[in-house]
């Protein structure tokens, strides 16, 4: 399959949601966007260190997909997971403090940007080994099945993970044992700096997944309506059959891979073209066209997101460092 690096036409058509839900989806995308813009700033100031991978441009996937899950479901994510953690229910305060390395962070400052975990919302990381989360998700699904729990495990990963052995082993096991895993492939066309057609002999990821005998769907990951609908359809299938489903969300990252990336591998024109398809402003435009959103309402949502970010930064700044004396704790449970 030839790979199209140009974005498809912008999403159009009616938004089949009531106003409350539509605004909630918009608000969550804005919360991620504003939080991450601030993260980039804080990184520049040296407040956040290590690797920082921004999700900017891809927000529709996490927001639309996670809105389809239930609290009892499990979520496994990657190192580009700030957005997933936030919309899954972790407080922005706990996320920001974690990135600052403070003990008020969700992992007490031991994980950082790439390792956000939250037992309360069943978020199992934050995995910085590409493909590493897939076997884990398969195991969580096996536990649910063996304990007769009605629980789906949603596992997010990028197109880069598809080349890893872990992807194939986990897909095979999940299909073989009919485990309730929702494999969520966020295809942003690049594994770090390597374009998918330079990494995959078969670039049709849906065909690849289907080879494991599991239903495989594809949707426009820049269109939150399509993301949500497709995810709901996938979940319905999982609940009906008990087995796994693969979904490819076609999306695009607007920012560099990490803060160390000079972006020598893709054209500026390509990035600019995708930005015209930004998930936030295209959705905003649709809602306005349908009369479901006024400019004042948009500004109010944005202002609320900005306030939440400012509060999170203040919380992180005021946070404290874990004493070195307790560093060795929690290597083991006892």
């Amino acid at each position: 399959m030839a790979i199209e690096h140009r974005p498809p036409p912008p999403p159009s058509g009616p938004v089949p949601w009531d106003k409350d839900f539509a605004l909630k989806m918009l608000a969550d995308m804005l919360r991620i966007r504003r939080m991450e813009e601030k993260c980039a700033e804080a990184y520049g100031e040296g407040k956040i260190r290590g690797f920082l991978h921004l999700y900017i441009g891809e927000e529709a996937v996490a927001v639309g997909a996670l809105a389809a899950l239930r609290p009892e479901d499990n979520v496994v994510a990657t190192y580009r997971e700030h957005g997933h953690a936030l919309v899954r229910g972790l407080s922005m305060n706990a996320i920001m403090a974690e990135m600052y390395g403070k003990q008020e962070g969700c992992c007490r400052g031991r994980g950082g940007s790439m390792h956000l975990f939250d037992a309360a919302t069943r978020l199992y990381g934050g995995n910085a080994i590409v493909g590493g989360g897939l076997p884990l998700a398969t195991g969580l699904a096996l536990a649910a099945k063996m304990q007769r729990e009605e629980r789906v495990t949603a596992c997010f990963f990028g197109d880069g993970a598809v080349a890893e052995g872990a992807f194939h082993e986990a897909m095979n096991l999940a299909a073989l044992w009919k485990l309730p895993v929702l494999f969520c492939c966020e295809n942003n066309l690049y594994g770090m700096g390597t374009a998918i057609e330079r990494a995959e002999a078969q670039t049709d990821l849906v065909a690849k997944a289907a080879a494991y005998g599991m239903p495989a769907l594809r949707c426009d990951g820049m269109d939150i309506v399509a993301v949500h609908d497709t995810t709901l359809a996938a979940l319905a299938q999982i609940h009906e059959t008990g087995g796994p489903v693969f979904v490819e969300y076609q999306t695009y990252r607007f920012r560099a891979h990490s803060m160390f990336d000079a972006e020598l591998y893709r054209d500026k024109d390509e990035v600019e073209a995708w930005k015209t398809r930004g998930p936030i402003h295209t959705f905003t435009a649709r809602l306005k066209a349908e009369g479901k959103l006024t400019e004042d309402e948009f500004l109010a949502l944005d202002a609320a997101a900005q306030r939440e970010v400012e509060a999170a930064v203040a919380f992180a700044e005021a946070g404290t460092w874990e004493p070195v004396e307790t560093m060795l704790g929690d290597v083991y449970t006892s």
């Binding site: 007490r108 975990f117 076997p135 398969t138 872990a166 082993e169 290597v331």
Partner: protein, 326 residues
């Protein structure tokens, strides 16, 4: 009346798993050919009939996949026993063991523990050639976050699994393939700990510090030395992480000479760690430099005479001890 009985190492491991599977519905066994085949080493013979395919799960040849699945299942509330056929194949699963199982608790700020047991055969000595003869316990013992057990006796083969399964953190058990047919007395005991080294033969002149497949070799060497008037104490480390430093120091303080024996290659092997602990904690107890007997720095050869020459042997241990008295 003694209630002890004789059985093989293989039977002991099998009984241990059977006991765990009967006692706790959360326990299940997963691995290559553990079900219909009855286990590569017949550890799980008959289990499929007794416990069914849900709890005795044959896996595809996907070490990375099924070890990672075991980690996820442990996180999800089960108590998996994952059998990796041999340590050699565990290299395919190393990422999941090191990057996920070992790190999750600390990295999550204490939110998630991984109560997983991974068992695997280890070691050389059966002419299986270089790719099936590794002894890499030392690598695993390097990693904080996992525990490493090396049962070398019938009682440990029978009883170490229970505390390993009760442990909330990942435990890796290395079973030396050279021990599987070993028969011995199982004392009538309730269980064993997974924290301490144990003296398997008392002595006063030299401490032979070892574990796993080298324990019988050290005991044989001790018998030879006794005929020559040297009484060796044999210390079985049993647990490589956390390492019982106090047990090592006690043996050295008693004997003032020590030889460390393991099947790792000498460079960067586990014996080096034991020697370093002795330097740190018992240097002034020593009457002679600490010696070690390890595998030669060569991939383990197939031909019998070469394989024997590459591995620690009782004669090499005896020679090393005599060197300390020269």
């Amino acid at each position: 009346m003694s209630l002890s009985r004789r059985l093989t190492y293989r039977e002991a491991v099998r009984e241990a798993m059977q006991e765990a599977l009967r006692a706790d519905p959360r326990v299940f066994l997963m691995g290559e050919d553990v079900g219909r085949y009855g286990g590569t080493y017949a550890f799980s013979k008959g289990f499929l009939d007794e416990f069914g395919p849900e709890r005795i799960r044959d896996t595809p040849l996907s070490e990375l996949g099924f070890v990672g699945t075991g980690i996820g299942a442990a996180l999800g509330g089960l108590r998996p026993i994952v059998e990796v056929m041999t340590v050699n194949f565990s290299l395919l699963a190393l990422d999941q063991i090191v990057n996920t199982a070992a790190l999750l608790r600390h990295m999550s700020g204490g939110q998630f523990s991984v109560p997983l047991v991974i068992r695997m055969a280890t070691g050389a000595g059966r002419q299986l050639a270089a790719q099936h003869s590794h002894s890499l316990e030392g690598w695993y013992a390097h990693i904080p976050g996992i525990k490493v057990l090396t049962p070398a006796t019938i009682e440990d083969a029978r009883h170490m699994l229970w505390p390993a399964l009760a442990d909330p953190d990942p435990v890796v058990i290395f079973e030396h393939a050279g021990l599987f047919n070993m028969e011995g007395e199982l004392p009538d005991i309730d269980g064993v700990d997974i924290t301490t080294a144990k003296v398997r033969r008392a002595g006063r002149d030299v401490a032979l510090i070892t574990y796993g497949g080298c324990l019988p070799k050290a005991l044989a060497a001790a018998e030879t030395l006794a005929t020559e008037g040297i009484e060796a104490e044999v210390l079985d480390l049993r647990v490589l992480r956390p390492l019982d430093t106090a047990g090592i120091v006690a043996a050295v303080a008693k004997c003032h000479r020590a030889v460390v024996i393991d099947e790792n290659w000498k460079s960067g092997g586990f014996a080096a760690e034991v020697m370093a602990r002795i330097m740190e904690h018992a240097f002034y107890e020593l009457d002679a430099p600490v010696a070690r007997v390890c595998s030669e720095e060569v991939p383990i050869p197939y031909a019998k005479h070469l394989e024997e020459a590459a591995l620690p042997q009782p004669e090499k241990i005896v020679a090393a001890v005599k060197g300390l008295f020269a």
